[in-house]
């Protein structure tokens, strides 16, 4: 399916899905946080989409807007197309339902995002820090992260 057609088809799935046009090369949609697992499950199971693999999970800290953007990259082996699904959550209370039940690899990808951004995943079976020690304070990839250890590059 072509990029535009795919984007339109995904948007027709549900009223909680809307298109996102900032992406350069692939179809992208915005999904409401509460509807995420259901939508991704349907994207996986419906044969015209068949997004079998969760390739990647990224978070972006939009500090000016007070939001985190959570991006899920999906890939379909059958139709050979990519889709990026975005979820916006407020920075103060970043919560989103987990995708572990749909794509098991999400368990660790979400742990990475929790570790570095502090996004909380509802119902996650094993939400722990992944890279940093359990007693680390703060979430280092947030734009406002500070600690005494980091050095700024001399200009």
């Amino acid at each position: 399916m072509e990029r535009e057609a795919l984007q339109a088809a995904v948007c027709e799935l549900d009223s909680t899905v809307s298109p996102l046009d900032a992406n350069a090369d692939r179809a992208a949609v915005i999904v409401e946080a509460s509807a995420l697992p259901a939508i991704v499950r349907r994207l996986r199971d419906q044969p015209q989409f068949a997004f079998a693999q969760l390739l990647d999970h990224v978070a972006v800290d939009w500090i000016d807007r007070g939001q985190f953007e959570l991006i899920y990259q999906l890939y379909s082996f059958k139709h050979k197309h990519f889709l990026s699904v975005s979820v916006f959550v407020p920075r103060e209370d970043p919560r989103v339902p987990t995708l572990c039940r749909v794509h098991p690899v999400a368990e660790w990808q979400e742990r990475e995002v929790y570790d570095l951004f502090g996004v909380l995943y509802d119902d996650h079976p094993d939400l722990r820090r992944l890279f940093l020690e359990d007693d680390w304070v703060g979430f280092p990839l947030r734009k406002d992260y500070q600690d005494d250890f980091m050095l700024d590059r001399p200009r």
């Binding site: 090369d25 939400l127 820090r129 940093l132």
Partner: protein, 386 residues
């Protein structure tokens, strides 16, 4: 809906105690972070019943160097150099992935000479990476000779590439807009000589390891990864292909000049360690085929289409590019806010996703199988942790 944040200690305490059989005692063993067969500083917390592995919990972070944070304070030209240090055995492919993303974002068309040279180097490096993996796999399974063979041939190829690139490991050869330098006049000739040298050596590899009974016993029907599990657990590259899913970005979404080359994608059948082994050995042959086809008609042209300065700015938006490294799909995700530094830079590393296949692969099997299975995943730990 609950959110619970636990720690490793709690997890271990929870996990001990359940499914205990009456006459054995279960215990936890730490494997790593300083262990010769974890290829670096991976730590596995193993729950054992006798010699059987009941759980295998990877603990990461022993080489988490915060590359993504550093990248946010670097311009795009410098970001490229950090990627060498992630998956250092696929350094040129890593450079290429970032360069590709930046080029697509900034709208730079590179000429076919650059594309061809990049493709040749990527394939040579794939061979190099697999040579090292082959040697180390032998060493993990208790044979030292394969290591010597692998390193010996790797050095031969290393010399050929070093003549052009000027470095042995962290090559920094590909940069946005082209290449660091043109190929050395001797390059084509020496690569041909290398292929002539290495083809019989690959048969020697087969004699030494592939057809060896001990190796077969330790790899066959061990660490079976079904295609469904492989897809669900995010595996790509030789691990996914070993399970029988013929997915290769070079074929399915060609980049560079892979569409001009005629090559096959080896796939396994049942997804055991042996299939993954075989896929990689076969990939070396295919890579040599690709290089041979491209070598004779490298088109003329410049090796740098546009000299980009360090202040290069790319338009606002998100950019995603991916390519197939020696271990799977490397994805580069850039969010730009019109400055000369990325707003957010993320790497989808193949090893990070491949690692999670380890537990479903070896659950209930012996520790000795774990070593073979882990070796067949070909993990590079700095790429997992970034």
């Amino acid at each position: 809906m609950t959110v619970e944040v636990s720690s490793l200690k709690e997890l271990v305490e929870q996990a001990s105690g359940d499914d205990r059989s009456p006459d054995t005692q279960e215990y936890f063993v730490n494997m790593g972070p300083q262990h010769p067969s974890t290829h670096g500083v991976l730590r596995l917390v193993l729950k054992l019943d006798g010699e059987r592995v009941l759980r295998c919990i990877p603990v990461l972070g022993y080489i988490h160097r915060s590359i993504e944070k550093i990248s946010e304070h670097m311009n795009y030209m410098n970001c490229v150099h950090l990627t060498d240090r992630m998956d250092y055995l696929s350094s040129i492919m890593n450079n290429w992935a970032v360069s590709k993303a930046v080029e697509e974002a900034a709208g730079i068309e590179v000429n076919s000479r650059i594309q061809t040279i990049r493709t040749i180097f990527a394939e040579l490096e794939r061979i190099q990476s697999h040579q090292l993996w082959w040697g180390v796999l032998g060493m993990d399974l208790g044979a030292f000779t394969p290591f010597l063979y692998g390193i010996r041939d790797r050095e031969v190829l290393n010399d050929v590439m070093e003549e052009t690139v000027g470095a042995r490991l962290t090559m920094n050869y590909v940069l946005p807009g082209g290449l660091m330098a043109d190929i050395h006049p001797n390059f084509v000739h020496r690569v041909k000589e290398f292929i002539k040298y290495f083809r019989p050596k690959l048969d020697e590899y087969d004699d030494l390891l592939t057809n060896n009974v001990i190796i077969q016993e330790r790899l066959r029907n061990v660490g079976i990864l079904s295609p469904q599990t492989a897809v669900q657990y995010g595996a790509t590259g030789p691990v996914l292909r070993g399970s029988g899913v013929a997915f290769d970005l070079r074929k399915d979404h060609p980049y560079g000049v892979y569409d001009q080359a005629d090559f096959e994608v080896p796939v396994g059948t049942i997804g055991d360690s042996w299939d993954r082994y075989w896929v990689r050995v076969e990939e070396m042959r295919q890579s040599m085929n690709i290089v041979e086809q491209l070598l004779d008609n490298i088109p003329p042209g410049d090796f740098l289409v546009k000299k980009l300065n360090s202040k290069i700015k790319i338009p606002e938006g998100r950019y995603y590019s991916q390519l197939e490294t020696a271990r799977g799909i490397l994805g580069v995700f850039i969010v730009s806010d019109k400055k000369d530094e990325p707003y957010r830079m993320h790497y989808r590393s193949p090893n990070f996703n491949n690692l999670w296949c380890l537990e479903p692969m070896i659950k209930g099997d012996y520790i000795a199988s774990l070593i073979g299975a882990m070796s067949s995943l070909d993990l590079v730990i700095p790429d997992i942790d970034r």
